[in-house]
């Protein structure tokens, strides 16, 4: 069986979980990997829970289903912990990464007894300090790249800088802030 890393993103409409999944596919693609990044479309509206997925690996990806037993779960909005069973099917040898200002001790009781690794990151604080606005997806992207060991920090930062230079060609003033958010997130996810 060919092995691919499977990641499931939980967010709310408008927060950019889908964009983050597509950015992750992009950055992994740029290192020569095979990638898949796709959203699951439910009732689309701002604030509704949404799911997005990634498969990443060294061999072509053929499966075209949603992901039910992910290696990693990324929770972009911690209020979802009360309404969505985010750890469902999550492999115990995998990990969950949660955007929260709370301590790990406060979060773990909300994870339905999940026995694997738990990481937290305060993406709101990082984003507001670096960008002056709340865009959680850049810090969450850095966090998952680190935790899932998709590539090393320098390679990731170089690829993202190139990508931002292309994406923000008309507003270069936001590149530095985004890069700072990524660096900070890489250090602070624990």
């Amino acid at each position: 069986m060919k092995k691919h890393i499977e990641i499931r993103w939980h967010g709310r409409g408008g927060q950019g979980a889908k964009t983050a999944a597509l950015l992750l596919a992009d950055v992994a693609f740029n290192t020569g990997m095979y990638v898949q990044g796709f959203p699951e479309y439910g009732p689309e509206r701002m604030g509704a829970p949404i799911t997005a997925y990634n498969r990443i690996g060294d061999t072509p990806i053929r499966a075209h289903s949603n992901i039910y037993t992910p290696d990693f779960v990324v929770v972009v909005d911690e209020t979802l912990l009360h309404t969505v069973e985010v750890t469902k099917g999550l492999k115990p040898e995998g990990a969950i990464i949660i955007n929260t200002s709370q301590s790990k001790e406060d979060i773990i009781p909300l994870l339905n007894g999940y026995s694997g690794r738990v990481y937290t990151i305060d993406a709101r604080k990082i984003s507001i300090e670096a960008l002056g606005k709340y865009f959680p997806n850049s810090p969450m992207l850095a966090a998952v790249v680190k935790v899932a060991e998709i590539m090393n920090k320098d390679e990731f930062l170089n690829l993202m800088e190139a990508s931002y230079k292309h994406k923000f060609a008309k507003k270069p003033e936001v590149i530095e802030g985004n890069m700072n958010a990524l660096k900070k997130a890489f250090e602070e996810v624990k």
């Binding site: 069986m1 060919k2 597509l22 596919a25 992009d26 693609f29 095979y34 990638v35 898949q36 990044g37 796709f38 959203p39 479309y41 072509p60 990806i61 053929r62 499966a63 075209h64 289903s65 949603n66 039910y68």
Partner: protein, 393 residues
């Protein structure tokens, strides 16, 4: 030289359109195909191509304008999904009987009732008798390749019929995956210039398009359409053979995956074929002789070729991503069974319905399906026709 890229299915088809640079694209937006006219009109406004984009007020109008452009002598196309295709219903038949080499990029989505934006094949299956050719894609790569091959097929003098290139809504249209692109110059050389034999704007030879044809003519018109549809099989294969030379990618009327020595075979269309391939790898590693026949060309229907490929299989499952509403099975099931019957096969063939309205189909579903076929083959289970895969209990 191929170009390594990553794109969604909609991006891939839009990029193929850009590389082909057709003359006229009328379109009206509908999920999940909206991105195609959106991206193409961006290419146009950036000055990258000189296609004439016509924003219209409905899909009935988009197909009507496409027909008008094509009849005038232009290389024309449009894109749509679901109810958009249903709203084109009347004009689809006109495009086919006027023998116009139009291409329609269809992003498959369930038909409304209840309203649903997700993938199934009820839209294109509803149009299966309209006189259009239909070629389906499993991946973004196939969607891209199918579009590049399309005008070579439709504009061939032995064919002159419109073609629907179909891909699965959201699953293919909105998922970003790796893809190998061709150089634009190579694409343009492959597709070539369009020089219609007859066209409305030719002042040297005035002609009528779509005139009244009463009973002395209607039947002969239909016979000519049938001959063209039969001719299309060979043209599709010839164009695929030429495309292989520039791309290295091989296409037939259908794809066989471990089918040769398979005892248990699944016949299906579209993106879920990839999921079934993963299941087949798992089952093969356990010594189970599982195989797949993935339909690429549904119109013209490759009946004798399918029957020959399925010859001697113990049990065959035919998977429809469309209810069919016949009370006895889906359209693919009915046609594959008829092909088997005509070939004199005594294969057990079971029709299943899966994935309608976007219901997920997993590797586990495919493995369970093959295990059921084995039980049927061993006489442990009676075949249950027209069963739903993944129905909530």
């Amino acid at each position: 030289m191929s170009i390594r890229e990553r794109m969604s299915g909609n991006e891939a088809v839009s990029y193929a359109i850009k590389q082909v640079n057709p003359d006229v694209m009328p379109a009206f937006p509908i999920t999940p195909s909206t991105e195609i006219p959106q991206m193409v009109s961006t290419y146009i406004s950036n000055g990258e191509i000189d296609t004439e984009f016509i924003p219209v007020e409905s899909e009935h109008s988009s197909m009507s304008a496409t027909i008008g452009a094509s009849a005038a002598g232009a290389r024309a196309l449009t894109a749509t999904s679901s109810c958009g295709l249903a709203f084109m219903w009347e004009t689809l038949y006109i495009a086919a009987s006027d023998r116009l080499p139009i291409v329609l990029c269809l992003v498959n989505r369930a038909l409304t009732g209840p309203i649903n934006i997700n993938c199934d094949h009820s839209d294109s299956m509803g149009a299966r008798d309209s006189g259009w050719m239909q070629i389906y894609a499993e991946t973004n790569q196939e969607a891209y390749d199918n579009f590049i091959m399309s005008y070579r097929i439709t504009e061939h003098k032995d064919v002159m019929l419109p073609l629907m290139t179909c891909m699965d809504g959201f699953i293919t249209s909105h998922a970003v995956e790796n893809i190998e692109l061709l150089e634009t110059e190579e694409v343009r050389k492959f597709v070539g210039e369009y020089n219609p034999e007859n066209y409305l704007l030719n002042a040297e030879m005035p002609m009528a398009v779509g005139p009244y044809a009463n009973s002395p003519f209607y039947m002969e018109t239909k016979m000519n359409q049938r001959i063209a549809m039969q001719n299309a099989k060979k043209v599709i294969l010839d164009v695929a053979a030429e495309f292989e030379k520039i791309s290295g990618r091989k296409y037939g009327l259908f794809e066989e995956y471990y089918l040769d020595d398979a005892e248990y075979a699944v016949v299906m269309i579209g993106s879920a074929a990839g999921t079934t391939k993963d299941a087949i790898d798992n089952l093969r590693s356990q010594g189970i002789k599982a195989g797949l026949l993935k339909i690429r060309v549904f119109r013209p229907f490759p009946d004798t070729e399918i029957a020959a490929a399925l010859k001697g299989k113990k049990v065959v499952a035919i998977l429809d991503r469309c209810e069919g509403n016949s009370a006895t099975g889906g359209p693919l099931g009915a046609e594959v069974k008829a092909a088997l019957y005509d070939s004199g096969a005594n294969t057990v063939a079971v029709n299943y319905i899966y994935g309608i309205g976007g219901r997920d189909y997993t590797v586990e579903d495919a493995e369970n399906l093959f295990n059921e076929l084995i039980d049927i083959g061993n006489g442990k289970k009676q075949p249950e026709q027209f069963k739903y895969i993944g129905l909530r209990k």
